[in-house]
């Protein structure tokens, strides 16, 4: 295990200090609007610079790749709970290696925020 035991909780890398704002809840929350703006700009640009070789159906869908990307991504993520329910088993289901090597792993040792 390579974790330095002397590292303190606030032992931040100097190069990361100017970017600590990225961890703020408000920044995470408002990041969505930046992305939304980018998407809208690209959709608008799509009207002025249409695809040279679109699929036949794409002519009738403004911002076709944005629509497709949003739906595809959402579909994949929304399928996840169902897939997890069907396919997930205990980590040691096969009894040979789902669990980490106790000689090496630091899993279950950290005390950070709850993962959600």
């Amino acid at each position: 295990m390579k974790t330095d035991a002397n590292h303190k909780e606030d032992d931040i890398h100097p190069a990361a200090r100017p970017f600590l704002f990225l961890g703020k809840q408000s920044v995470k929350h408002n990041f969505m609007w930046i992305v939304l703006s980018g998407m809208i700009i690209c959709i608008v640009l799509g009207f002025f610079f249409p695809q040279k070789h679109p699929l036949p159906i794409e002519k009738y869908i403004p911002g076709s790749w944005a629509v497709f990307g949003f739906l595809a991504y959402s579909f994949i993520v929304l399928c996840a709970p169902f897939i997890f329910k069907v396919l997930a088993r205990d980590e040691n289901y096969y009894g040979e290696g789902g669990l980490p090597d106790p000689e090496y792993s630091t899993e279950h040792e950290h005390d950070g925020d709850r993962h959600d």
């Binding site: 961890g23 992305v35 991504y73 396919l87 040979e96 005390d111 950070g112």
Partner: protein, 579 residues
């Protein structure tokens, strides 16, 4: 002197270096060899086949009546040759901190076998290096510790089986072609062609044949996973590109291959396994491109392979660095690491942008070629499947891997930045990802390597391509942020996600255990009968296989080789399952 050297397959130099490494107790010497051997092999490739030179067919050996061409360098194989040498150097830098003789030597033999394999001119030589990649790489998996032992055995069994299929296919294919073992276009006209396709399909992770990858890669050592991700599957892609360009079935196999891993990756907690699914998904684009078979598609495949080795290596390296420092690669255990590993974070983000085909980053200039080729050939459904998979790539590699490792919640882990050698290897990979996608003189370097057609008539940086690609990417990120905000994005949970390997790891094993138990009971009752049958079989086998037997009279030696190989596999599998 130099003339003699040019007759030797350059991959063999790396293999020899690997064998020498097994005898070297001094780590510094092994590391020097690890760095120098791929560079020397690349130099030899250049010496034998200078840019713009004639195709080279050399190193001919007559072996048992079959003429082997141990060295063939042309526009196609030279790309893989240089690529594998480059990957060998990056991997060697990444593994400089690791003081392990087994890793050093097996990494070199594995790299050398891959280089030698892609430079092989006939199917028998291909088979030899095909098997050598499997045998040499399994040690990298076993270095993952005790929990990797069974996965390594399964990996070995599956790859040896793939090799046996390759040999059987080669013999049948050659029999149908007047004994010609030359490795060129194969096609599916003969049964041998189908066997060869399945053999290659196993190695490059066709749907339902893919599970060895997600089983073994995450259990290998940290350096081992990075090395494994570079060669085996890309070697198989080369074989497909050489043997089966324009084979229609590959379009659909590839399209399915791009889609199904995204559903597994989204629920997987082990980030190295997520990347293994991602690897499978990227291979799908390549297989689909080979199936389309047009000049544009095949050049796209070559470019995609070249960049994929680099950016996928970069992603595996960054997660490996995190694992090296934190002791885990589980998403549920990580988060907030940008505070303590900022350089690794930036490098991982470059890898993520590269695989997601963000403009100015690697895959943007190559993946679009395959998509454009699909539209050009009016293959709209495969095109839409690949577009869907592109959103999936954004999900698992573009967002999930960097987000849950370096951002998301703060796991409270405060660790050191990655070692200098890891940072150097990742930085070099990142620079390649950016340089080869640079609009002014960058991607043109990559396109100059593409083997099909006189020049590549494709321009990735058109306004409409950039705009529509950004639409897709922004929409995917927007969906992520929205779902996350609404609490609809699933949290990472520790679990074993079942895949196709369940059929043999659970169902198959249970059946074998039942048969074993029944057999134990039956054997008590049928001892005498068995002895009689065994005796009779022995006599029959002697009549067939002995020097005076029937096979020795007229049957081709190839058939005996198949039978022997098949029996070997059968016995290996019995031995494994009854272990």
């Amino acid at each position: 002197m130099i003339d003699i050297l040019t007759l030797i397959n350059p991959g063999l130099w790396i293999i020899v270096a690997g064998l020498v490494c097994t005898l070297l107790p001094v780590g510094l010497l092994r590391k020097t060899l690890g760095l120098c051997a791929p560079i020397f092999a690349a130099f030899m490739i250049f010496t034998i086949y200078p840019f713009g030179g004639e195709d080279v067919i050399s190193g001919k050996i007559n072996f048992g009546g079959i003429e082997l061409t141990t060295l063939r360098i042309d526009k196609l194989s030279v790309v893989w040759g240089y690529l594998f040498c480059l990957a060998g150097v990056l991997n060697a830098i990444y593994g400089l901190h690791e003081k392990c003789r087994i890793t050093d030597s097996s990494a070199l033999v594995y790299t050398g076998a891959a280089v030698a394999g892609v430079l092989a001119g006939d199917l028998i030589t291909l088979f030899v290096f095909w098997e050598l990649t499997a045998i040499s790489s399994v040690f990298l998996i076993w270095k993952g510790g005790e929990r990797a032992y069974a996965a390594g055995l399964r990996y070995l069994a599956i790859h040896v089986f793939s090799g046996v299929l390759l040999l059987a296919g080669a013999v049948i294919y050659a029999s149908a072609n007047g004994g010609d073992f030359t490795f060129g276009y194969i096609g599916l006209e003969s049964p041998g062609g189908w066997l060869l396709l399945i053999a290659m399909g196993i190695k490059c992770g066709f749907p339902m044949l893919h599970m060895w990858m997600q089983d073994a890669y995450p259990k290998a050592s940290i350096t081992g996973t990075v090395i494994l991700a570079s060669f085996t599957t890309k070697f198989a892609i080369y074989a497909l590109a050489r043997g089966f360009p324009g084979t229609d079935i590959l379009i659909w196999i590839g399209a399915v291959m791009t889609c199904f891993p995204v559903f597994f990756a989204v629920v997987e907690n082990d980030l190295r396994r997520v990347l293994a699914y991602s690897l499978n998904n990227q291979l799908g684009f390549m297989v689909c491109g080979i199936g389309i078979g047009s000049t544009l598609a095949l050049n796209g495949v070559v470019g995609q392979v070249f960049l994929h080795v680099i950016f996928k290596g970069l992603l595996f390296m960054s997660i490996g660095a995190v694992m090296y420092r934190t002791g885990t690669a589980k998403a549920s255990e990580l988060g907030g690491l940008f505070r303590s590993m900022p350089f690794t974070t930036v490098l991982c983000l470059i890898g993520a942008a590269s695989i997601a085909a963000v403009p100015m980053f690697a895959a943007f200039v190559t993946k679009a070629m395959i998509l454009a080729a699909a539209v050009e050939d009016h293959l709209y459904i495969p095109f839409l499947m690949m577009l869907f998979a592109s959103a999936g790539v954004m999900e698992h590699s573009g967002i999930k891997v960097p987000h849950f490792t370096f951002f998301a919640h703060d796991s409270g882990r405060r660790v050191k930045e990655a070692p200098w050698n890891m940072l150097l290897a990742m930085s070099l990979a990142a620079v390649i990802c950016i340089v080869l996608a640079f609009p002014w003189g960058g991607y043109q370097l990559l396109y100059a390597l593409m083997p099909f057609g006189e020049t590549v008539n494709y321009h990735p940086y058109t306004v409409d391509h950039v705009v529509f690609q950004m639409q897709l990417l922004f929409a995917a990120i927007f969906a992520f942020t929205l779902l996350k905000r609404r609490g609809l994005y699933p949290s990472e949970r520790r679990a074993e996600i079942l895949d196709v390997d369940w059929t043999y790891r659970r169902v198959g094993l249970t059946i074998l255990q039942w048969i074993s138990a029944m057999w134990a009971r039956l054997s008590v009752l049928t001892g005498r009968l068995r002895a009689k049958v065994t005796d009779e079989c022995g006599k029959r086998l002697y009549q067939v296989f002995s020097p005076a037997g029937r096979f020795s009279e007229a049957a081709p030696s190839g058939l005996t080789a198949i039978m022997t190989a098949a029996m070997l596999v059968f016995i290996l599998m019995i031995a494994y399952f009854t272990r």
